[in-house]
């Protein structure tokens, strides 16, 4: 959307359940020129970190949200003027006071212009029945509209201290915004260090709550797949509709209030949490509060897999595919899931959801402990060993280079986490909600192992052994069921059938 000749850059919607994002870095500054679709800034949301491309070619005329600030989806972040357009010198000239933090640019700065005077002058030409005006007059100055209440709460100001120009002296949104601009605010809005406690407290909003519900029917509608022309798009396919029950209830953001009380001791450092860290934090807590976690483990002799990998690796390397043990395990795990639908299922209210497909999540740790992301391989049951290896390689690579799309991290039905690369031999991962189970893979170690020789006698051999764990939600999956799943998975891996995969 553009106003006049300027194009506005807004915080993009990175997935239906994402309501806000944090600006991590501006890649261009005011005055820089930029081409259409060239990266303009980097943002971080609780789902993905990504670059935002410029919606138009031109010159950056304003940067309205500074690095480190978190704003809602749809908020205008910057404006771009077309190349060659006459650009008014960037905003700063505006506030007379030179010193105070210019951090927060006027949100929409209707410059201290003669407030539409005519409004007051023209007392709405005797409207026959002005219900609106009547209501306002009745409430007078004490009535605070929802948006004014929200802005006041976000900035910690008392709305009654703002001069009102609305009906009956009511404080309008414009009033409070210009009040904020005038610097009369209680707390400095975005001074990086001191304020954040107050500032980062998520606005008491019904977060993105509405979106998921709304979004259910829309995608159907949006795709009138020209070829096969399937669903009557207009209508939420009845079977799909009941979803709302599960719509991941936003975890009643328990304001991270507990911490700030404690004073820093000498030597301690305090740093703000990234959006991803906060997402992980909330998600892990919610999962533990939701599911009844139980972990079962099984030891698997991977001798056959090791030999096969040795054999296939060069061949696949020629196709630029890195054949990992994880690919073998993922392939076998997915195949086994089809026999154990509850492990691949989900509790939804009082019902159990099962499905004939596996959307396989692979937990990927980002460098330097920056966080964890679980991109999803859709319809993993359709991939053979090579396809699985290629898919894992692709999503892991894109996760680390921030090239994931919102859809890449949604819709998983089962997750594999692989902390074994550092030598750990056992763990109890947390389930990725709303899934029912997560498979952990651990270090492959050579162990003395009892096997039978060709005469049927027990002998001790050196075998490559891996410990696999299945952490499952005991509300849905019982121990015996999980045990059977692990047994079948082990059997598949130990007797790997090259032809079948």
């Amino acid at each position: 959307m553009s106003t006049g000749t300027q194009t506005e850059v807004v915080m993009p919607q990175m997935g239906v359940s994402v309501s806000e994002g944090t600006i991590t870095k501006w890649l261009r500054q005011v005055g820089d020129s930029i081409g259409r679709d060239e990266p303009l800034l980097e943002i971080s949301t609780d789902k993905v970190d990504t670059e935002v491309p410029s919606p138009a070619a031109g010159v950056v005329t304003q940067i309205l949200v500074q690095e480190g600030e978190t704003v809602e989806v749809g908020t205008v972040l910057a404006t771009i003027a077309p190349p060659g357009a006459e650009v008014a010198p960037p905003a700063p000239a505006e506030p007379a006071a030179p010193s105070p933090a210019p951090a927060r640019e006027p949100e929409e700065a209707p410059a201290p212009e003669p407030e539409p005077a005519p409004v007051a002058a023209t007392p709405a030409p005797a409207p026959p029945a002005p219900p609106v005006a009547a209501t306002a007059a009745g409430n007078g100055k004490t009535f605070v509209s929802p948006v004014v209440a929200r802005i006041a709460a976000e900035h910690g100001i008392d709305p009654t201290s703002v001069p009102g120009t609305g009906t009956g002296g009511r404080v309008t949104k414009k009033d409070i915004l210009s009040f904020l601009e005038s610097g009369a605010t209680a707390a400095p809005p975005s001074a990086p260090a001191p304020a954040p406690a107050a500032e980062t407290a998520p606005p008491p909003e019904p977060v993105a709550q509405p979106e998921p519900v709304a979004a259910v029917p829309e995608p159907v509608a949006a795709t009138p797949a020209p070829v096969a022309e399937p669903a009557p798009a207009a209508t939420p396919a009845p079977a799909v509709a009941p979803a709302p029950a599960v719509a991941p209830a936003p975890p009643a953001a328990p304001a991270p209030a507990a911490a700030p009380a404690a004073e820093l001791v000498a030597g301690e450092a305090l740093e703000p949490m990234t959006a991803m860290r906060r997402g992980v934090m909330e998600h892990m807590r919610r999962s533990v509060d939701t599911a009844a976690h139980v972990t079962s483990a099984i030891e698997v002799d991977l001798a056959r897999v090791v030999a096969l990998r040795q054999k296939l690796k060069p061949e696949l390397a020629a196709q630029s595919v890195n054949l990992t043990y994880l690919a073998f395990i993922a392939r076998a795990a997915v195949d086994t899931l089809l026999d154990y639908p509850w492990v691949n299922g989900e509790l939804r209210g009082q019902s159990i959801v099962t499905r004939p497909f596996v959307n396989l999540g692979i937990a990927v740790a980002l460098d330097e402990g920056k966080g964890l992301i679980v991109p999803v391989i859709r319809n993993a049951q359709d991939l053979n060993l090579t396809g699985t290896a290629r898919a894992i390689q692709d999503i892991a690579e894109r996760a680390r280079t921030k090239k994931l799309l919102p859809d890449d991290v949604q819709g998983g039905t089962f997750t594999i986490t692989n902390p074994g690369s550092f030598g750990t031999f056992h763990g109890t991962p947390i389930i990725n909600q709303p899934q029912s189970a997560i498979l952990g893979t651990y270090a492959l170690v050579k162990r003395p192992w009892v096997v039978q020789d060709e005469l049927g006698s027990d002998v001790i051999a050196i075998r490559p052994i891996m410990n696999l764990t299945l952490t499952y939600d005991h509300r849905l999956v019982d121990g015996a069921y999980a045990g059977l799943y692990l047994r079948d998975l082990r059997d598949k891996l130990e007797s790997w059938d090259e032809a079948a995969y």
Binding site: M1, T3, Q13, E72, G74, E108, P110, E113, P114, P116, A117, P118, V119, A120, T122, A124, P125, P127, P130, V132, A133, T135, A136, S145, P146, V147, V148, A149, R150, G166, T167, R170, T172, K173, E205, P206, P210, A214, P217, E218, A221, A222, P224, P226, E229, P230, A231, P232, A233, A234, T235, P236, A237, P238
Partner: protein, 324 residues
């Protein structure tokens, strides 16, 4: 680009679709020899022959029933109601059969019903209605309400291409009054995507059909008073562009929902309720509605003028909203 009236754009779209897709045919009362009551299909029978431009008996039931059957067999019928008002005769075929067929047996019903609707020329109670909200309430139907020649052409192509029953409400008062640039080649306008007909940040008017033009004229009046009003043309009601409406609410915080249909149970109520549910904390004033009163459309020109929201009415409402 060519300048076309709204009605020429509709004819143009129909002609292009019939030329490119042999499955497309039209049927209705007097659409053939006579060229349609409003001359939308003038010359069509000469070009496409009587088997693709079918004059039907005076029976809306037969027209929609026949179209549904033809669609079931793989054709792409475009049925014309002489006036949108008469579609009530075909309610059963449309609502009970066409809208539900896919859900019952997974067979799509790709029909389009063209519905000349709206008042403003003393057509009286049987020739002036805007019954879109009755059908917006029926799961399985899509509802389209173009306001400009460009959208009239692009949305009709989308409607014909769509695998679902689509009700295409074409506003009679726009037919020859509204002109605009229209690409000569075929193109489509997607469903569910609102169009910003006029930009503004102080209040947003959510509307469709002929009211888009009424709202725009009113917005120009308000601009003289320093109030910039956004006019959002919904273009399609099912599906409707909720995201764009909510975006407007977030930015402007003041909303007027405007329609020519009667007030109670109008589609504006759905929009207003959704805003209250999903953007409550962005509101700086109650969501206002402006619509026709809950009576049939009167014949008498002064009464009809009092009945259909006029530019002055919208100006008054917007002034109140701006001052709130």
């Amino acid at each position: 680009m060519a300048e076309m009236t709204y009605i020429q754009a509709i004819s143009d779209a129909l002609r292009l679709e019939m030329r490119r897709d042999q499955r497309v045919f039209i049927l209705g009362e007097d659409v053939g020899v006579y060229g349609g009551a409003f001359k939308v299909s003038l010359g069509f029978q000469e070009e496409f022959g009587p088997w693709r431009v079918i004059d039907t008996p005076l029976s809306e039931t037969a027209i929609v029933g026949g179209a549904t059957g033809a669609a079931l067999m793989g054709l792409r019928p475009v049925a014309e109601m002489q006036f949108a008002d008469f579609i009530s005769c075909a309610w059963d075929h449309l609502v009970t059969v066409a809208a539900k067929q896919f859900f019952r047996s997974r067979t799509p019903i790709p029909i389009v019903v063209r519905l000349p609707s709206g008042g403003g020329f003393s057509g009286g109670p049987f020739h002036s209605q805007n019954p879109e909200s009755s059908f917006a309430h029926i799961p399985g139907l899509k509802v389209v309400c173009p306001a400009t020649p460009h959208d009239a052409k692009g949305l009709l192509a989308s409607a014909i291409e769509d695998p679902n029953p689509v009700l295409y409400f074409e506003h009679k008062h726009l037919y020859r009054r509204i002109k605009g640039d229209v690409p000569e080649e075929r193109y489509t306008v997607p469903f569910g995507s609102a169009n910003v007909h006029r930009e503004g940040d102080d209040a947003t008017v959510v509307t469709w059909g002929a009211m888009v033009h009424t709202a725009t004229e009113a917005a120009e009046e308000l601009a003289k008073e320093g109030v910039e009003v956004e006019v959002l043309d919904m273009r399609t009601l099912i599906p409707w562009d909720k995201a764009r409406v909510l975006e407007g609410v977030r930015r402007c915080s003041k909303v007027l929902v405007l329609h020519e249909d009667t007030r109670t149970g109008g589609f504006g109520a759905e929009i207003a309720a959704t805003i209250a549910e999903e953007a409550f904390e962005d509101l700086d004033a109650p969501v206002m509605r402006l619509a026709a009163p809950d009576t049939p459309v009167p014949f008498s020109p002064p009464l009809e003028k009092a009945y259909i929201p006029q530019v002055e009415d919208v100006v008054t409402a917007l002034r109140e909203l701006a001052a709130y």
